[in-house]
Symmetry: C2
Subunit: 193 residues, 2 copies
Amino acid sequence: MVTVSTLPQTRSYHHGDLRTALVDAGLKALESAPIEELSLRALAREVGVSPTAVYRHFPDKQALLAALAAEGIEQLGQYQQAAAAGTEGNSDAFGATGRAYVRWALANPALFRLVFGQCRDVGPSIFGDNLAARLLQDRALHAVGGDAAGAQRLMVQAWAVVHGLAMLMLDGQLPQDDALIDRVIDPRTLFAR
Amino acid sequence: MVTVSTLPQTRSYHHGDLRTALVDAGLKALESAPIEELSLRALAREVGVSPTAVYRHFPDKQALLAALAAEGIEQLGQYQQAAAAGTEGNSDAFGATGRAYVRWALANPALFRLVFGQCRDVGPSIFGDNLAARLLQDRALHAVGGDAAGAQRLMVQAWAVVHGLAMLMLDGQLPQDDALIDRVIDPRTLFAR
DNA sequence: CAGCTATGGTAACAGTGTCAACATTGCCCC
DNA sequence: GGGGCAATGTTGACACTGTTACCATAGCTG
């Protein structure tokens, strides 16, 4: 997504596509600042519009944040899907998508936090109906020998490891070390077979 | 900690022990409201003091939050230690402290978030020099057969699972189901031996 | 072209963190 | 015991925030 729309040169009274301009500005802001420092007025200023114009497109700040989070989910999903695509049938597909999850989080800290702080049901969005999700589910089923409950458990365990590692690294509790990611997310040592 | 100090009945100009009163009020506020809704002025109002009196004891809001986080670390550490105490020598000491970690997080959501969002180096505080920590390290060493690097990896993996599960449950991504905690944090299925 | 509706702007309000200047108090030392 | 000083608390103000009520513009539709 992120249709840049940097063409409001016509400086007319109406902006043209304020909504996506705000979302884009928000995403850009989140690249270099934490969520708490994201202000509606600053965004409006950035886009060259009055503070209250935002309210023609979002009922409140929460709604804008939700829109940003939706973009984040989309991007994370695509990133995971891309990571999984290269490893079809590979026995390490599970690990590959997990490492992609963590790397995306480290690359987009504020957006990652926003996604999980703002959205309910991210799980279905990520583990839902897409390539990466089906790969994971298949692999989980194989790993536990066709036991559905066991596969469910394995999925949650995997999600927890990956999410926890990302969070601990984002919060500075663990070094953001690429090699550490590989060492921790290693299906050979992580889960009992 | 949490020395209640509810004895400012003398209504003198000076409060007596404003600092701990503010910390206590902050901890109480975090029991029923998220961090973003915690305001210096509200806290001062609660304690019966002018907004700027806070600045005689904390250089800024960040410092107050840090003090609250320190209390949180203390409490979490004690809770873990208590959980580990009952399982000395037990083969499930590892799992027991992990489940305690998650349960404490669910019981103190805002404080848990504050601890990990505010403090650097929580790891050393928790895995440092205390009963729970030594239990964990011993158990990790035994599990991997005396290999120090392997034990380190196991510790990080365990922390990640536990932290991730707590976060996902706090953020509503997974149901806050007690049975689910037990199912996920199960050393028999979690780590390869 | 008239007018309605979508979109944008102005002014204002309550609330926030923070600073500078002033007030009060408890305590130490002569 | 009294003087003075440092610790502690207060007042007033500033810049900023999200949000609302009301007004202005402009683009589409009849």
